[in-house]
Structure formats: structure tokens, C-alpha cells
Symmetry: C2
Subunit: 749 residues, 2 copies
Amino acid sequence: MSERKFRYVGTRPIRHDGIDKVTGRATFGADFKLPGMLWGRVLRSPHAHARILSIDTSKAAALPGVKAVVVGADLPEMPPGGETDMHDLTRNILAREKVLYDGHAIAAVAATTRSIADAALELIDVRYELLDPVLDLDRAIAPDAPILHSELRCEGSDPKPQGPTNVAQRVEIVRGDAAATFAQCDVVVEREFTTPTVHQGYIEPFACVARSTEDDQTLVWCCTQGPFMIRAMCARLLGLEVSKIKVIPSEIGGGFGGKTTLYLEPLAIWLSRKSGRPVKMVMSRPEVFRATGPASATRTRVKIGATRDGKIQAATATLEYEAGAFKGSPVVAGAMSMFTMYDIPHAKIEGYDILTNKPKVAAYRAPGAPMSTFASESAIDEIAAKLGMDPIDFRLKNAVREGSTALYGQRFKSIGLIECLESLKKHPHYAAPLAQGQGRGIACGFWFNGNQQSSASVHLNEDGTATVISGCPDIGGSRASLALMAAEELGIPSERIRPIVADTETVGYNDGTGGSRVTFATGTAVIEASRDIVKQLRTRAAALWSCDVEKVGWEDGRALPLEAGEGRVPMTVAQLARRMARTGGPIVGRATWMARGNGPSFAAHLADVEVDRETGCVKVVRYTTSQDAGKAIHPSYVEGQLQGGAVQGIGWALNEAYHYDAKGTLQNPGFLDYRMPVASDLPMIDTIVVEVPNPHHPYGVRGVGETSIVPPLAAVANAMHAATGIRFTDLPMSPPVVLEALEKRGARG
Amino acid sequence: MSERKFRYVGTRPIRHDGIDKVTGRATFGADFKLPGMLWGRVLRSPHAHARILSIDTSKAAALPGVKAVVVGADLPEMPPGGETDMHDLTRNILAREKVLYDGHAIAAVAATTRSIADAALELIDVRYELLDPVLDLDRAIAPDAPILHSELRCEGSDPKPQGPTNVAQRVEIVRGDAAATFAQCDVVVEREFTTPTVHQGYIEPFACVARSTEDDQTLVWCCTQGPFMIRAMCARLLGLEVSKIKVIPSEIGGGFGGKTTLYLEPLAIWLSRKSGRPVKMVMSRPEVFRATGPASATRTRVKIGATRDGKIQAATATLEYEAGAFKGSPVVAGAMSMFTMYDIPHAKIEGYDILTNKPKVAAYRAPGAPMSTFASESAIDEIAAKLGMDPIDFRLKNAVREGSTALYGQRFKSIGLIECLESLKKHPHYAAPLAQGQGRGIACGFWFNGNQQSSASVHLNEDGTATVISGCPDIGGSRASLALMAAEELGIPSERIRPIVADTETVGYNDGTGGSRVTFATGTAVIEASRDIVKQLRTRAAALWSCDVEKVGWEDGRALPLEAGEGRVPMTVAQLARRMARTGGPIVGRATWMARGNGPSFAAHLADVEVDRETGCVKVVRYTTSQDAGKAIHPSYVEGQLQGGAVQGIGWALNEAYHYDAKGTLQNPGFLDYRMPVASDLPMIDTIVVEVPNPHHPYGVRGVGETSIVPPLAAVANAMHAATGIRFTDLPMSPPVVLEALEKRGARG
């Protein structure tokens, strides 16, 4: 496979949606309008934890211009359980018995203008019984903790606890006997790490327009990573048939996992059903911060032991992840991913999913992994230092390779961690001198990469151009990469291919854009659909040449006669396309699959930091990422993924955090106070794209979107240790935190 | 096939698009808007025939608010020839050297408002050299006729004439020796018939919105019968790749063949390219009448001879059809269809395609057939009367049946003409007494029915509902009929199926809605795509049952185990759909084909008329149609087609006609003066749906949309003869014409 010569794959054509995006013409969630459209707005809880005694919407409903009001009790009740707990989901969308976080939706209003809708919200009278909020892990697990859900029992514990709890789940991964092994280790490091609640910080707030007709035919325009998820969830939440709902995904201004769930769409549909009018809903930035799923705040206790020869012998960890108001933190993925870079003979990991009075967490790029890896890669750094080993050499010595078996059970085929580490070691960055006060850190990361279902169609046009239809919203340049794969198979330039993200009606089922799955899974579907086209083109050529299809070859976009004969000259795609009608009609290729084999992805990051000792401000002065892409279809977008993940990880490391007051009110629901890195904060992020082909993809692709956010937290913290001698264990390493640490050390030192 | 028991086919569910249409929510051509949209308007020629000396658009371009102006010379020049003559087409869209009819487009302007665009048109200075107009057939073929196109030479004549001419084509169909056979006939009738220029009279004027971006990505929203035709023609006319153009067909407010070509779309695209803004264009009703293709005015001389035993022995005809300003009348179809109801041993038909200074004709429901059939079925009526035979018996004696060969060469498989005639004969209408002054007429009709290319996809949803994707605009209820066919194959109610008319990007290539082809051709594709789904469902069931797929049966929407085994219980579509992800991923069915075998369609119509002898006003008092549908998928929409065709034919017979003055200016470009029948003019049109299955369709479907307009012209004329004793040979039989004829007969009689 690595021998294959590519003609189009690996080139960097301008993306098909590029001009629309740079001119501002591309239409995002809030850009859609329908005639007679109403504005929907949401009343949100000012309390973090309270029982709802009553909701009186009569005054709001009577306000001129108000066309519909909906409260939780209006929506169908849902049974608990299942892969997605609908009982929880319907309550997260509109609170019923209790409000569970600051910003929790209580009622929705549709009115002729946005200001009337806002005025109506003011007229809704909610009576609460205030309850103590649970705002951190210690409080959540305390014996006298206020209980969020009285019916909740902890899953995965043995014996199953009887009483109410805020601990929704316990998971455990065990190999060998770690506890016994530590005694045989020459070096053991044990530390506790915490990370705060952070938000994906996508630029585009949630937005949608919904229209439901008298016969329940329902149109939803929205920005989402998963239009088929929106369709399925709305159908279930509202008791509609799937075929009644059409979801048109808009362009998406960032998602990062945060747009794999839904908040507004069922409300907009319900308001439309009640009012008989289309309803538009757009969140404000404070609503996004207060009420859409951020990433878990976490606490991870990690212990790693190694022998003098530099081999890790044992590792244990205890992970506590905040789920927010409803169960379902990514603690399982956090537990499964944290030690996966290394062959460790003895290990035990425990994880806990813990409820707090914060918004229900959502996926955020490699969900769960950056936090636990922050702990494990910080500890690895410390061990390497204690052993006096170069941190890359130490990692290389323990790195997983083909044939290694991860703690969670997967036996790896070809993987690229060693290649990533070696590429960093050889990179000029690693040998570059550091200025006074600077420090350099390294960390690795791993992500599973998702599979799930994909469908794709390819339509050959009569002039030999083609259309590629997929159903996964294009977040990271997937139109370009899908077109390149079709180009490679069809042998025509990607400029002659139009890649389309279709709505849920006009393409087969597709799981969402997430799990770094699209280029791998949908890409494979596109390749298969293109091969389906080529197969049909060979059949058409065979008919024209009056020969058997086995006597028609295919190369570089041309059918080739394998046996000489009258009129048998090579024919291009365009020549065959022009003869479609005469040779049997239109040519449509299609493929569907339940993807398998999205290759595990590894990365290694190198960070140089400089600390301002007067202000505590940390500046990343140089940063290099190396990651295995399997095969980079469009290298620019692979590099973009590597850079973007690094930047988000740097933000997580240095500045980002939710700040709640004692009552549980979010204090910084805006980009002024929730400090994300901007371009001027950062150096150019250098990228090394390693290509160790994934044997499960025709070209060797493995997903690249998520692994890139896993190493930076530890890479920056390790660099901070190098720069300051201080082991930072609690994120963010924001100026006040750093300043305090420096002062403490100064006082001590 | 006729034995097959249908569960859903043949039922009459509410159409899926019904509520949208009765509530006014459905979006038609003029209902689309884009931000920043301009209005495009067209300057049209006030002259029927003139040379363009110069066009000065500078004042128009300078008018504030005007963003772009386009004239013919701006568009790429096109080579002559080919199936669609692009050299002609580009000149019909915007005149170049000459204007050729009243209303011919000369220039187009895009401005910020419609009124500014209209004002700009007034500022365009066109200098003309006026030429004599050619307004009828006699003038067109006169030796000294003004010549519309100096380079035109008559095709199909032998020897080929050397000089310029207005006769674009001669066609001939010959069997045996008709001239010699007339001498052996006992009765010979010879007459000349004329029909005027008429318009399809669709309710919705042409309308479109186009947007072209900096990289030529082009969106066209428009009302059309052929979105892929619009795409192909715009690509060729403007030099774009097909993959750059996306055509979204709106709902369509009638087409009847008139919307199988294009007028505005290339102008809107070009104006958008020049202005950088979206451009909307909507024709006014006068523009529709003046400048969109009506049906040919015709003159047909027919001669039929029969022997005393009631057998037709010979027939000849000469057809002259007006093409309008550019070649291409439907004279070939007129010639091929006129005698096809009968087995005639000796025949000769000549046809001429003749240019006049009127708008280029377009297709109109069974294009060409109603006019020539008016002649032949009038003559048949006269012969039957002369032989003293019942007109149905006479027709039955000569009617084609399975095994007959049409003059144009097709050997018929099973056809339903005899069944249609017999059903009329048995119908109470045929025996019902007539009041004083009333008359009854009968006539038959034939239409070939088209084939062309169709693609369809069916997507199975995870809850067992399904989506049917086709690419033919729904004019006559095709969503409902396609859904019913999918329902029949999948074994689920059509209410659980969502039928979609997709845009040109999201479905495989489809020729347009026309030729009565959609239920047949696209229907077959939908059936095949549904069977593709069933095949996959059987494979999934086989996997679940650990058995060979051959051991999985299918019946009534359920997979059935053909051999007993553990867990092998019948599974419904919904049960299998819920397991899609686990059993291999999404299920998409697709089919494409170059259709063959749309069954020939025959009809027989019975009309009772009553003549007001004071006003000459003719009232149709009873009307019964009988037509072979092969198999009626949704009987209500079959009946609707039969009724609609009859009504349009009645209008053609009694009232409709273009009136030009001597200069060639259309005098009645509006519905007040162009008199179409409305509901209050008509009785209920009774329908008899005959079902003689078409062996080339899985259910026996044959197209029904067009044949229904073929018989009424003669049926009404024959009824008029019965009522008045006058043989009307020139349409329309409008009150002044009828009054004059009555008066003449009164004077004579």
C-alpha cells in the first residue's frame, strides 16, 4: 500500500467551499430564514439546583406577538435507559421536576420578534424551592452531599450500592498486579492532577430553524455535527417517524464534539407545531457557555513505577470526571486512553462518573483523553527525569508498536508512535538552544479513532464531471479530502468533482462528523462508490467494444482494451460519460458500511515556554507536533488539524476554565472572561505528518482530528517544569496560579 | 402479471405534497429569494421581424441601481447542429442579428428593484431595419416569402433544394401504394384541416433565481420539467462544467411540455456573473404568451378511403406545421401518430416543418398529435357516416391490436385500444338520449409514450420508514405514485415513505418530466431500487439467522425463514432496519436505467355538445374518456390526467388561439383574451381507466399524461357535426366561427 503512487491524493487543491467561506456567502446556522418565521427564546434557570414548584406561562402567552409557549411537561415523557438516556435528554432540553444548573432551560417562547419573545420570558413566573448546589467533586461524593437525582444508583460497582448517590458509574481496567509490582520498581511517581471545566469554544453558537406542518412533516435547518442524530433524537423525543423529519445541516462554525448533541431543535419543532409557523432559535454566547455541554472537570490520581533500565513496570490511576447535571462523562475513554502509549505489564485504572450542578458535559475532541493524559504524561516526564533519561528515549523504550496490546484489549496492527517520537527527536526544534527562563516539554497522546456508519454516492455527469454526495458536515475540510479520493479512483482532477454535504433525505444514513471518522469511514465509502462507477464504466466500454468486461482494463481515468479489436482505443471518463445514455443510462455509484478499522492514532508534541516572572504569564514560544495520519489525503487540512488541536490544548493548559460562584452561577460566560488563545498569543505551530499506513483503509488513512489535543496539556506542563522547576498539577496554569507558585517557591527557595 | 394482487398499488392515499399545496406553503418558481438578490428583466422586441442594427445599453447601465446588462453578443457563440441546435437556442434566448417574433428577447438587465430594471429597459436604444413578417403557412412557403434565416436549407428533401427557404424539414412515411388503392375504395373522404397557435396555458409563469460565484459555482432555482436539461443547457450555453451547476427544481405550476426548454436561466446566471449578486427573473403573463413556446399552428390535408365492408384501405396526409422562429415543430410526431389507431395497408404521409415569425414552438402534451389526429379522426367520422356504420364499430373493425404494426414501424405488444372502444360502447353515456340540438361525437387518440433516462434511490431509515429519491419534478402526482410502488415492494404503507424530488446534485441523472414517462420509467427505477433494499434486508436476515440468503424468503414486508432454526422468526422491515448498524451499516437501494418499453397508449373519447344557435356558443354537456393506463398506480391521478387532457383538448377545439395583427403583434397575450375553459364551462369529465398491462413494466404501467389530449379536438368537432350537420375543419370552433357557419348553412339550407 505504501508503494502506491498517488496522482491527486496528497496534493493541496483549493477547497471547494473555500470561496463561499472567505466571501461570507456560506450559510451557517443563523443564516436561514423562512417566510412568516417566529423567533424562539428560552427561559433559563438562574439557580444551579432547585425544585420547580410551578411554572405559570399565562402572562407570557397573553403578550401580543407571542404565538406559542412550551414547558417540559408539554413534551412526551421518555423512558430511562438506553444508549442515549432519553429520560435525561428530554429533561436537559427542558427541565421538569428540578433545575440542575445555572442556565438550565425551563420554558421556550415563540413570538413574532426576538424582543417580544425576550419580553415574554420575563413574564413567565417560576416558583422554586432552592437546593444546595453541588459544584465540585469533593462535595459530590461527600456522605452528606445534596443528591441531584434521587433515583440514581451507581452502575458498575460490585456490590451495587443501595442508596442515592451522585456517582453514576464506576469502571475498572486491570492487567496483572500493579500494587504488588510497585515494590519492585526503582522509581515510583505518584501525584494528583486536576483540570477545570472547559468549553469547546466553537465560534458559532447553536442555531436552528424548524418548521412542522399540519401533517407533521418537519424541516430542521441547523448547525450540527450529526444531522442524522438530530433527526433520530427529534423523532424519538417528539414521537415522530424518522421519515417525517428532514434535517438540513448548515455550514458549521466549529463543533469539536460539542455539536454532537441537541438543545434547541426539539423546542423549535414543538413551538412550530403549536404556532403553525416556522421558528428560529439562536443561542447567545452566554447561553452557549451556561447551557451547552462543556468538557468535564476532572481529578486524576496517577502512580507509575519503573525500573532503572527505563522500563515502566506498573501504573495505576483513579479518575473522577464530572458529568454535569446528567450522567455520562467521558471517564471511560479517559481511563482507556491514558496509558495506551506504553507497554505496561501491570496496571489498574478506576474511573468514576460523577454528577455536579453544572451543564451536562458533551464531547470535546478526544473526549476524556486530554485530562487523564495530562496526568499520565506529567508523571512519565517526572519518572524519566528521575531516571536521568531523555524523555523521548524513555518513551521510545516503552512505546507501543505493532503487536502491542493496549490495556483496554486492542492488539495493534501497524501504528506510528515510534515514528512520531523519532521524528521529533530528529527535528531541529529538539536540539535548538533555549533562552534563559525558557523550558522545553514533551508529551505523547493517543486516540482510538471512531468508525460508525457511513454512506456515500457518486454521480457521474454527462460531461465526465462528477458529484460526490456524503452526509457528514464538513468541519475540517472533508469536502476536499472526499473529492480527492474520488478523483484518485476516477482519474479526474478534484476540481472536476463537486463534493456535497447532503441533507438527511438525499443521502443514505450517516453517523455524524466526529471521532475523527469522516476521512476514514466516509472516505472509504466514497472510494468504494467511485470504484462502483469505474466498474460500470468498464462494463459500458466492454459493450462499446463488444468484448468481455474482463478484457477492459482501467488506468489513470481511462478504460483500456486489453485485447486489440476494431474501434478499441482507450476511452476517458468523459468519453464514456458522454455515451451513458446510449450504453444503458445514468451511472451512479454508492457504498454504505459500518466502518471498522479506523487506525489508532498517536502523536508526540514538543513545547517551548517562557514564563514572565513578574506577571506569571506563560508564552508558548515554539511548538512542534508530530502525528501519524496514516496517509494525508489533503496535507494542508491534516496540518490544520494538528495545529488546531495543539492550540486548543494550549488554551486548556494555560488559561481556560469555568468559574462558578458559591451559588453555582457561572461568572465568565463570554469570550472576554473565558480566555481562549488567539493568533497573537501563539507561535506558528510546526507540524510533522507521519504516514504509517492504516491497513484497514484503501489508502492507509487514519483519523487525525482528535489526537492532536491530547498531548498539549502535559507538554506545556512539562515545559513549565523545565522552565521553573515547578510541577504544575492543576490547570489552568494561568498567570495568578503561576505567579503564586513562583512566589511560593521563591519564598521556600 | 395481471394476476398479481396489489396491497398498496391501486389505492388512493393523500399525496405527500398535498397539504403543502392546499395551504399555499409549497414553494414555486417565484417564491425563492436570496440575500442581496437583484431583479432581472428582459427587453423584448416590439417587431415580428427586423434586423438589429445596433443596441446601445450605455444609458441603461448608467442608471443608479442597475448592476448588469447583457445582450446576445455577450454570450458565447454556439455551433449550429446537434440534437438541440445551440446556435438557434442561444439566439432564441437573446436575439443577435435579427429579432424574429414579437416578444423576442434582446437584452436583459439586473437591478436592485424590479421597477429600476424596468426603467432601465426603457433606456436601451435599439435600432432596427424592419422586415416583412411571415405570419402564416401560405406566406412562409410562397416563392417570394421573406426568409427568416438566410442560411437555412430544407432537410429531408431529395434532391436537396439549393436556395434559402422557410421550410426546415420534410418527412415522409410510406406503406404500400395509397394513391393506387384509393381507386379501389368505395368511399373516399378528402379534406383540409387547420389548427391555430395555442399555448399550454400553465398557471405559473417561468421564474428563476440564479447565483454564480467567483469560481463559477452556480445555483439555479427554477420551475422546470427538466432540471437536468436546465443544467446541461446552461453548461453548454455558458461554457461551464456540469458539475459547477446545481439546479433546484421548485414546485411547478403546470408545464404540459412548455417547461421542457429554457428562456431565463442562462440570462439570470450571466447577470449574476456580471453583477456578483443573485438574480431573480419572473415572466409576466404577456411575456409567457409572447415569448415562450406555444404549440404549432398546423394545416393537414387528409384523404382516407374504405371499402363497403368497413375496412380502411388507404390513407394519405400532408402536414404543414409551424415551427415559429426557429426550426423544430413536432411535425414528425404528428405524422407518426395520426393513423396509428388503425391497421391501414396503404398509406403515405408527408410532413413539413415551416418557419414563421412567431415564438419558437415548444412541446405541448403529446406534441404534434392532437392537430393531425383532429384531421384523421374527423375524416374517419365522415367515412363511418358515409358507410352508415356506427363510429365505434367502424373503428373497432379497423383498430390496431397486439401484433399490429404501426406505420412508423413499431410492432405492438399488448395494447388497449379495443378495450377502450368497447368500454365506451358499453358505457351508459353512449346510449343516453340527446336533447334537441345536441350532438355526440367520438374520436380516438394515440401517443407513443417516452422512455429516456431515470435514476432513483431509496434510503431505509433506522425506524423502518423510507425515503424515495427521484429527480423528476412532480407535475401529476408522481411523488404519490412513486411512493406507492416503493410501498408495494417494501411492504410498508406509503405514508411511511417520504418521496423526494431532489436537486441535480443529490440524485443520479434524470431526464425530465415529460413524454408520460415518469410513472413508467422512474417508477421502474424506484421498484428496482426497492428490490435492491429487499435483497439487502434478506442478506441481513440471513446473517442474523446464520443461514444462507437463499433460505430467506420475502413476503408482505417481512423476511421469512424458509428453514426452521433457532431464533428464526419472521422479521419486518422495521425490525431489520433497527438492526442495520449491527448487521453491516446503512441500507441504500439504487437503480438507474435508460428506459425501454413505455407502452403505447390509446384512448377513446365521447363528447356531447349543445350549440347555442343565437350566439354560436358551444357547450360540452357530457364527456367521457376511456384510456388504457396499463395499471393505475394511484387511480385518482390517472383520472386527473384523463380529465386534464380532455379539458385542454376541449379548449383547443372551442376557443383557444393566438391572434396576431398584420404586423405580427400578438393581440391577446393574457388570459382575458386568450380564452381557456374554466370549471364552470365544463361538465364533470367521466373517466374509464382501462388496464391492459404493459409487459415492459413490473406492474404493467404505461404512461397516461399525454394521450388524453389527442382525441378531444376531433371528438368535439364530430359532436358538432352531429349537432349541426356542419363539418368544422378549422379550429377553434369559437362562437363567431360557429355563428358564421350556422348562418351560412341557414342561407344555403
